[in-house]
């Protein structure tokens, strides 16, 4: 696995697991692979995976059933989406605003770009179907 962003590895791994939950690879109430299997797949220290799993458990995204394994929580998808929205609004949007201010871009100029982007995206979706 490639770790490109500057955050801790365990958090990047947590993001990767959340992505798999959102994509439905790990369905809710389903058992996820063991720490050993995940470590083997990612090629990282199993203790790091353990930290990732305990982090996601603290967030209520995963839960542990002693002796059975780790499962995806019933409302994992909602929790992840809520968290991601919060991160986006709190952090990413701020840096986005800073950047458009720095570059002298008028916010109203962005509206047509946004419509254009959505139109292209819709087309791609149609083609894929």
């Amino acid at each position: 696995m490639q770790f490109s962003d500057p955050r801790s590895i365990y958090l990047q791994l947590a993001d990767a697991i959340c992505d798999l939950i959102l994509r439905g690879t790990y369905a809710s109430a389903e058992k996820i692979p063991s720490v050993r299997e995940l470590a083997g797949e990612a090629g990282v220290n199993p203790n790091t995976i353990l930290r990732t799993v305990s982090h996601l458990t603290d967030q209520g995204i995963l839960y542990n059933q002693r002796g059975v394994g780790t499962f995806v929580s019933e409302n994992a998808r909602e929790t992840i989406m809520q968290q991601r929205k919060k991160t986006f609004l709190d952090e990413e949007l701020t840096s986005f605003f800073k950047k458009i201010e720095l570059l002298g871009i008028d916010f109203t100029d962005l509206a047509p770009l946004w419509s254009q982007w959505k139109a292209v995206r819709q087309e791609v979706r149609h083609e894929n179907q």
Binding site: I9, S34, V35, R36, E37, G40, G43, N47, L50, N64
Partner: protein, 289 residues
């Protein structure tokens, strides 16, 4: 558990280790880093009874390595940096040696060979160096030995094999095992080896988990916050890369090469680091969750 207490060792007249102390705990994949001639291979050889300490106590899962008891040897596997394989087939090698390891798993051995894209080979001595290494790593990791010592395991491995080796190694660690990997190729094993032990001129300069390290030190690029205590600094394209004391938000992820340079350049500045035997103490058990 492996306990090294006040070990003294020297080759002929040149002293190498004096009062060396270290504790290794199960469930960890230790990375042993050091320059050429720092004593890495010697330390590995002492741990598996190939060399005898001149003074001090060495205990590996309660046994003394240099007594070379069968129960000790069947619970240990060393993959040396350079080695010879006998002129026999892979199947015969397994047939001869696997019975020496009660916990040997034929299934895992085959899985490792498959991961390395290696068929059970014919004459082992006719393989290329890299293929020999893959074979020995696959066998060694499948022995089920609780103590695995790997000396420069990624040397000689081709590009895909490095990733394959990471996967195999990560999947082989469990809470009963101690894996000790000596390496110069820190990039090959980054995010995998942890805790890190740095050996320099026969002394252990550093021994702690990266989580503990990150709680006490930070790597920062560019401007530093007020009052930052800089322990080590490098200039990269006009910007400085600094290792500072205390945890600072926005710190870069730990780079082993940078850590290594910092510790070997200013060993005295890291005396406040966690004591030697603390490595692994904050680790949770690797559960088979």
């Amino acid at each position: 558990m492996i306990e090294i207490q006040d070990i003294t060792f020297q080759y002929q007249k040149k002293p190498l280790f004096k009062d060396l102390e270290m504790t290794l705990k199960p469930g960890n994949l230790y990375g042993l880093l050091g320059k050429n001639g720092a004593g890495k291979t010697t330390l590995l050889k002492l741990c598996c009874g190939l060399l005898y300490p001149q003074a001090g106590r060495l205990s590996v899962f309660g046994r003394t390595p240099h007594l070379r008891q069968p129960a000790f040897l069947s619970d240990l596997f060393l993959v040396p940096e350079e080695f010879l394989l006998p002129p026999v087939s892979g199947a015969l090698y397994r047939q001869m040696l696997a019975p020496l390891y009660p916990a040997f798993s034929a299934e895992r051995f085959e899985a490792h060979l498959r991961e390395f894209e290696l068929e059970l080979p014919g004459r082992l001595d006719r393989l290329s160096h890299g293929q020999k290494k893959k074979f020995l790593l696959a066998f060694g990791l499948a022995t089920g030995a609780r103590f695995l010592l790997l000396d420069e395991p990624t040397n000689g491995l081709d590009i895909p094999a490095k990733g394959q080796f990471r996967k195999i190694l990560a999947s082989e660690l469990d809470d009963s095992r101690i894996i000790l990997v000596s390496t110069h190729q820190v990039r090959d094993l980054e995010h995998l080896i942890d805790p890190i032990v740095i050996l320099d001129s026969g002394k252990i300069l550093f021994s702690q988990t990266l989580e503990d390290f990150s709680a006490h030190y930070s790597i920062l690029h560019g401007e530093l916050p007020d009052g930052a205590v800089v322990l080590y600094e490098e200039q990269v394209l006009g910007k400085s890369l600094s290792l500072v004391e205390s945890e600072v938000p926005g710190a870069l992820p730990l780079d082993l090469e940078f850590l290594f340079k910092a510790v070997t350049t200013h060993p005295d500045r890291f005396t406040t680091a966690a004591p030697v035997d603390a490595a692994g103490s904050t680790r949770k058990e690797v559960a088979h969750a």
